[in-house]
Symmetry: C2
Subunit: 422 residues, 2 copies
């Protein structure tokens, strides 16, 4: 069983890079996730102040040639090793992720060390990258369900922790190659970086090779981020879309808190599986919309419960009212023992399945280290889930689900009325 | 190693249902995929002639209560077993897919046997299902990249093999509960159905339990489908979108043909990985669009190569011209040895990764049985890939990539000029 026989290792290198790895004896693949403290939030650092979208553009730039390889040679080298990969910036981290067969793990890491430490940053690549970044922004305009969540985060989290990684069209249009270089030098650094590796690997060899490949990467001072209030708390974006998008966010317990499992349980019971409350009340009983969910989202020292629904113009007001009523009911009435059992079964089953994939395991290792400074074994998570009682979740919901803290954003042809249930 | 120690079993029951299963000793999860000959194509059967969208609506309906359970009890029973599941109709098949921990496999199959054989089909569920089906169609209007592929298939494949599973708004609005019942009775049948199961399972027990659970399902006559020409071959859909969507389709060798691997290789080399030709020529060299790909798509006795790009209005004509030139070049000049090695490395690596997931394995088992009447071991696929030469791919491309057979569809604010390279 992978869950019991798996072995987790960790090592911190002198330059601050942390390696967390798990041997999965039953798989032939190997995957890694390199998290860099280089997400869109750092665009707002006092020393940097680069335009929105810079973090994403830099992720694209470093993959277009590094070390001895130009852009095309880099893509070919990755494809020759059968590496599936993605390089992207989210709000907090830039994430470089890759998966291939175990035999190709070290050669693949070598290519990513070049990207992290020795990118070519050829000026000629910037205009195509800018064009792609502008295309991404235009695609987002055609994808209102994603758009509304980016805009919600920007209004909910204190600035810069809600910055949308695609940026904005006018800033992307203005960004210079030198601004991008400055950002990369400051943000793509080993101190604060975490490399999670999982699959068919040999730990002593991996530890030594990562030291060899990433050892000369020089630490940099941490950029200064100043938190500022965001908002507005209730807002509407006017768009001639076919559906109205409804999105809301509420503060929730962070990962390292004692309230973490109750917070995860509350979000899941509200809208994390198909017999969950929002699904039942909004979709099942009233047929009000196709997509409705609630999910838990984590930042360091901060969590959020995000709810979303996409629905027709005629049904939007009722959908919003039902969502608010369900939030209120969760805070006031807590949860039942059966719902909690259902939530537990779903979370355990998805944990076991995630445990079987080297890719999702490598990203879980890196995320655990970021949030906790250690990796939670599956047995610890299962025990914490088993220990949850309806009283713990109800107590958490009563203390934490305060509708006055709600951020609500709608997007569509007309605004809705926000009636907080009394 | 799962690839070598895995054991594949198969059994055909008297009512025609085929069970194909693979024990994966290293995983704790188990997954299954039940393919029913009940996709949107069968809506057009001579005996049925139900409205577009009926196949999808029926998939939703059978999950809303079956056997002893009403809609809510069914969702709760699935969630209590930690079952991740989806029920959806594509063009050819309706697919009921689920994954959970191995210990819950048989109880989960029991719920799906109820859905397949004893759905409640409560009239009161039809209006909410209709509302959701209409919402799906509206979401598709907000998602032009998916929309254009549905519309392309409808113009390319002979009718009814290009029918879009979401249907059309006016037909979804008109469909009656009795039409849906008639469709289900004719199309949800064991003869022609394939159940693929993979993961932590005990074969003798699985074979017996599937016999017990699905044995009383009565075979039905096969509905009569009449193939008719489709088209038009070159078309434009006018929409005020931010981007222009370009989609094209060409006939390709079917799965059971000797040309299958050359056909897969040709599509992959054209646009199946990140240093592939379309990506290099369209995105990398010219920065013309964010998303561009080519992929191989299979139907029984028929294949297609589908190409897609989403790009800005100003860059759309050049993007289309480059895509056509690349198709022509592939047909005339063939492929190089290095490209072929790259393609091989990518396909092998993704095969190994897919082999490690019980969910993707269960669906591969069912698909192999459908296309070939047997399951290809990974070793056979690897050997066929190793045996491929540039000459085989070039020969295939010369014989098969005839641009006169091309279907081209664009979607956006203005049409483009289709200039077939001479």
């Amino acid at each position: 069983m992978p869950a019991s026989s798996a072995t987790i290792h960790q090592h911190e290198y002198p330059n601050g890079l942390v390696l967390v790895a798990e041997e999965m004896p039953s798989v032939r693949s190997a995957a890694f996730t390199l998290l860099l403290p280089a997400g869109a939030a750092y665009e707002a650092a006092e020393e940097l102040k680069v335009g929105g979208g810079a973090a994403s553009m830099v992720c694209e730039w470093i993959a277009r040639g590094a070390g001895t390889r130009d852009s095309r040679a880099m893509l070919e080298a990755l494809d020759d090793l059968g590496v599936g990969h993605s390089e992207s910036a989210q709000t907090v981290h830039a994430s470089l992720a890759a998966a291939t067969i175990g035999a190709n793990l070290i050669p693949a890491l070598e290519l990513f060390a070049d990207m992290a430490i020795r990118p070519r940053l050829d000026d000629r690549e910037v205009e195509p990258i800018r064009a792609l970044a502008l295309q991404t922004l235009r695609s987002l305009d055609d994808d209102p369900a994603s758009k509304v969540i980016y805009e919600l985060r920007q209004r909910h989290f204190p600035s810069p922790w809600g910055r949308p990684s695609p940026g904005s069209a006018d800033e992307v249009a203005r960004t210079t190659p030198n601004e991008l270089r400055t950002f990369r030098r400051a943000a793509h650094r080993p101190n604060g970086a975490i490399l999670g590796v999982a699959g068919d690997l040999d730990w002593p060899r991996l530890r030594d090779e990562v030291g060899r490949l990433f050892g000369e990467w020089a630490a940099q001072p941490e950029p200064t981020l100043v938190e500022r209030p965001s908002g507005p708390r209730v807002d509407h974006i006017n768009r001639e879309t076919q559906q109205i998008q409804i999105a809301m966010a509420l503060p929730a317990a962070p990962v390292a808190s004692d309230d973490y499992y109750p917070a995860r349980a509350a979000a899941a019971i509200l809208g994390g599986y198909s017999s969950a409350r929002l699904f039942t009340e909004v979709r099942e009983k009233r047929g009000l919309c196709y997509s409705v969910y609630a999910s838990y989202e984590a930042q360091l020292g901060r969590g959020a419960m995000i709810c979303h629904a996409g629905t027709s113009v005629e049904r939007a007001q009722e959908t919003l009212d039902v969502m608010l009523a369900e939030l209120r009911r969760l805070g006031e009435k807590g949860v039942g023992a059966e719902e909690l059992d259902t939530m537990r079964a779903g979370l355990k089953s998805s944990l076991i399945m995630a445990q079987e994939s080297s890719m999702s395991r490598s990203s879980a290792l890196a995320a655990d280290w970021y949030f906790l400074g250690r990796v939670r074994p599956l047995t610890e998570i299962a025990a914490a889930l088993d220990a949850l009682t309806p009283e713990m979740v109800a107590d958490y919901a009563r203390r934490s689900l305060n509708l006055d803290d709600l951020t609500i954003l709608t997007l569509g042809p007309n605004p809705l009325t926000v009636r907080l249930p009394g």
